[in-house]
């Protein structure tokens, strides 16, 4: 159900319009094929190529969205980036005649188109999935840059609460818990479930409650609270890094793609 929600378009009308344009492009391609031999360098084939190139140039201008906010708010640029970028890939496929292209550059172009579109859509899905999971599953909201500082504060807080604790709890804290509190522990499992592993991690502390004096039971409650907070910081660290990190898969290849498109257009015009 959550996955369905994450893949649901924010603006169904824009999605429907894009789908309509995609169908129109496919229909045009079918029409072109019915009229005879398909040539990427002429007529409809060339038109698809121009559409694809224009789409990629537009998509590559996305980093300038803030400066262009006078024309439209950034969210409109984001939607245009996603939808026109996807249409550009379809146009590139149609430009290639839905077949494996001839030559190294053309093949690389199509592969890079597919890669940037795929990683772009993956990023879109992550951007829809992760924020909702972070918000609905966790109590803590934190800036990525402040996680380290907050973790250090948490450890200092835990150390302060452990002053005067009994031997059993002190040993467990020193050997088991403190190292876990002190170091960042990102995990892929947070992508599926933001509270992943919480029960197992807290179990030893809970069990310890049966073997410590009454005064230490309060300390265990406090430590449990601090540990939960630390786990939430880890979830934030993992997922917020992922929210920024996926761009490494998308942006540099997009730059290469744009360069190849320019080369492809230049060689097409020259020869």
């Amino acid at each position: 159900m959550r996955i369905v929600a994450a893949t649901r378009p924010k603006k169904p009308r824009v999605f429907a319009a894009t789908l309509g344009v995609a169908l129109l492009l496919v229909a045009l391609h079918g029409f072109g094929l019915s009229r005879g031999r398909f040539d990427p360098g002429r007529g409809l084939g060339l038109l698809f190529g121009v559409v694809a190139a224009a789409g990629y140039v537009f998509a590559a201008a996305y980093p300038w969205r803030r400066r262009a906010s006078r024309l439209a708010p950034a969210r409109v640029w984001t939607q245009a980036h996603v939808y026109l970028g996807s249409l550009a890939f379809l146009a590139a496929l149609l430009h290639a005649g839905l077949a494996r292209p001839q030559g190294l550059v053309a093949t690389a172009l199509l592969l890079l188109s597919g890669w940037t579109t795929l990683t772009g859509l993956l990023g879109t899905a992550l951007q829809k999935w992760i924020p909702s999971r972070l918000t609905e599953g966790l109590r803590v909201e934190v800036l990525l840059e402040r996680i380290e500082e907050l973790r250090a504060r948490l450890v200092a807080d835990a150390d302060a609460r452990m002053a005067g604790a009994g031997e059993v709890l002190s040993r467990h804290y020193r050997q088991e818990l403190r190292p876990k509190l002190a170091r960042p522990m990102p995990a892929w499992s947070y992508l599926i479930e933001v509270r992943a592993g919480r029960e197992q991690t807290l179990e030893p502390l809970r069990r310890l409650a049966g073997f410590v004096p009454a005064a230490d039971k309060t300390r265990i409650d406090d430590l449990t609270g601090l540990h939960i907070e630390k786990l939430e910081l880890d979830a934030h660290l993992t997922l917020q890094r992922l929210l920024r990190g996926w761009l490494v898969l998308h942006a540099p290849p997009s730059g290469v793609l744009l360069g190849l498109v320019a080369f492809h257009v230049f060689t097409g015009l020259w020869y």
Binding site: K10, R65, R66, S69, R70, P73, A74, R75, W77, T78, Q127, K128, I130, P131, S132, L134, T135, E136, E141, L143, L144, R146, Q240, L243, R244
Partner: protein
């Protein structure tokens, strides 16, 4: 080092050194304090001292300027003051210290406004302090002047124990302000002069403390209330739970159902903070409404709208949740509150970057703050209806221009005293170092706050630059919109 700023700072610090709590013996000698019963005078003086200061002004020095916000009432101890009732030009910026000679704008000297003089024993500033409207006239010293400045807590203490003072202040308000205030309320906008005069005479002025009940649901409704300062919560009892229906702010009113239906209160009215009200007896208000068909129509419209809202809340208690939250967190004060939907926010920081781009590299909000459900309320100025940060700015650097939402700080005249940052109840003003140094070697600071990207055609950059539409700005005046956006 910034020489003009340094001059302003020196003047302010000099004034600050003099700003020590008023001498108890001198306070007791004042005619104002003679209104307090002798048996409690000593304890009252002890309580008000921290909020009472004697200030001296040379002829020509400004005590309060039109357009400023003030939380103090001034009583003249010695000398005379002059009130410029109709300033030839509205004050837009005052790059000078309170108490220093006012600049002489050419237009002002060419076309002087109407003036009134005040002498020993006279009071001024009480109406703007109590109603939290901006000061309507500039008061400056005519002769060497000594005034007692009483801040609101002291004024409230005094009016509570000295009924004579309360009556005096009420009478001044009734004589000089009430008619205008009634006219400003849409309900009375088309009522004729005679009726307004009648209402003015019949009105009773009252004050409520935070949390004080004004009317309980189900009790006999015998009054019509108009809010002239502060906020009141309007709530209904649904299955034992107290659900907020709406809230009343300055200019709002309650009690129309009492006049029209002769019924019991359909909701409970409770002060959220110190509130000042005008009370009109049901019979008086009904008599005026009977003579004024437009007033009657407006009362009916209001009553129906209010009952509809009441019904909606009773049917759907969740609808009142955001209102309750807004009252509890202080968001009701906000004219433009930044909210971020965390379920769609990708924490990309584009909002902060855009804010920094618009403000010369220095963002004026922090993407951290209170969280309510899936909404984050970042540390960004709410642009409050009655901005307490404007009170006590020694150079007038922080201002709200008439008819605008945004409260702005002029960095050229901000001396970094941090009065505004200390006063902001929501910690939405921060002090930042400019990189320069003061004469005393300390780093120079200025106060920084959101100004809604004043002058930017696309509106606040944080909202227009959010790539996912997660950042919104809301006025908590319009609770219907708040409910529809935050659902």
């Amino acid at each position: 080092m910034n020489a003009p700023k340094e001059q302003l700072r020196r003047e302010y610090e000099g004034r600050l050194r003099l700003l020590v709590p008023g001498d108890a013996a001198e306070l007791k000698r004042l005619p104002l304090l003679e209104l307090v019963p002798p048996r409690i005078r000593d304890s009252v003086v002890a309580k008000i001292r921290p909020y009472a200061h004697f200030l001296d002004f040379a002829p020509g020095q400004v005590v309060v300027a039109a357009g400023e916000y003030s939380d103090s009432v001034y009583a003249i101890v010695r000398g005379a003051a002059v009130v410029a009732l109709e300033p030839a030009q509205p004050v837009t910026r005052r790059a000078q210290m309170k108490g220093s000679p006012p600049p002489k704008p050419a237009a002002a000297s060419a076309a002087p406004g109407r003036v009134q003089t005040l002498g020993a024993g006279d009071l001024f500033g009480d109406r703007s302090a109590l109603s939290r409207f901006s000061v309507s006239a500039t008061v400056s010293a005519w002769t060497p002047l000594r005034v007692l400045r009483l801040r609101l807590p002291a004024l409230r203490m005094l009016t509570a124990v000295a009924p004579e003072l309360r009556r005096t202040l009420d009478q001044r308000y009734r004589d000089e302000t009430l008619s205008q205030q009634l006219r400003r309320v849409g309900l009375f906008a088309e009522v004729d002069e005679a009726a307004i005069a009648r209402l003015r005479e019949q009105a009773e002025l009252m004050s409520l403390s935070p949390g004080q009940l004004l009317a309980r649901e189900g009790t006999l409704a015998d009054s019509f209330y108009l809010v002239r300062g502060g906020y009141l919560k309007v709530s209904v009892d649904v299955g034992g739970a107290d659900l907020a229906v709406t809230y009343l702010r300055p200019g709002d009113f309650a009690g129309e159902t009492a006049i029209l239906f002769d019924q019991r209160w359909p909701f409970t009215l409770q002060a959220v903070e110190h509130a000042e009200l005008v009370r009109l007896a049901r019979e008086d208000m009904a008599a005026v409404a009977g003579d004024q068909p437009r007033l009657n129509d407006r009362l009916w419209q209001e009553a129906l709208a209010r009952l509809k809202t009441r019904g909606a809340v009773a049917r759907n208690p969740v609808a009142s949740e955001y209102l309750q939250m807004a009252i509890e967190t202080g968001l009701v004060h906000g004219e433009s509150v930044l909210l971020i939907d965390l379920t769609t926010c990708t924490r990309c920081d584009d909002c902060v970057q855009a804010c920094a781009d618009t403000h010369g590299g220095q963002p004026v909000f922090i993407r951290e703050g209170k969280r309510y459900r899936n909404w984050l309320v970042p540390t960004a100025c709410y642009q409050c209806t009655d901005p307490v940060c404007l009170v006590d700015c020694p150079t007038g650097a922080i201002r709200r221009s008439v008819g605008t939402l945004e409260v702005t700080i002029d960095p050229a005249t901000c001396i970094g005293c941090s009065n505004c940052a200390t006063r902001c109840p929501w910690d939405n003003i921060v002090m930042v170092e400019t990189g320069g140094a003061r004469a005393d070697g300390k780093p120079e600071e200025v106060a920084v706050k959101c100004d809604l990207c004043r002058g930017r055609a696309e509106g606040p950059a944080c909202v227009s630059s959010c790539p996912h539409g997660s950042a919104v700005r809301l006025s908590f005046k319009d609770m219907d919109k708040v409910r529809s956006v935050l659902r």
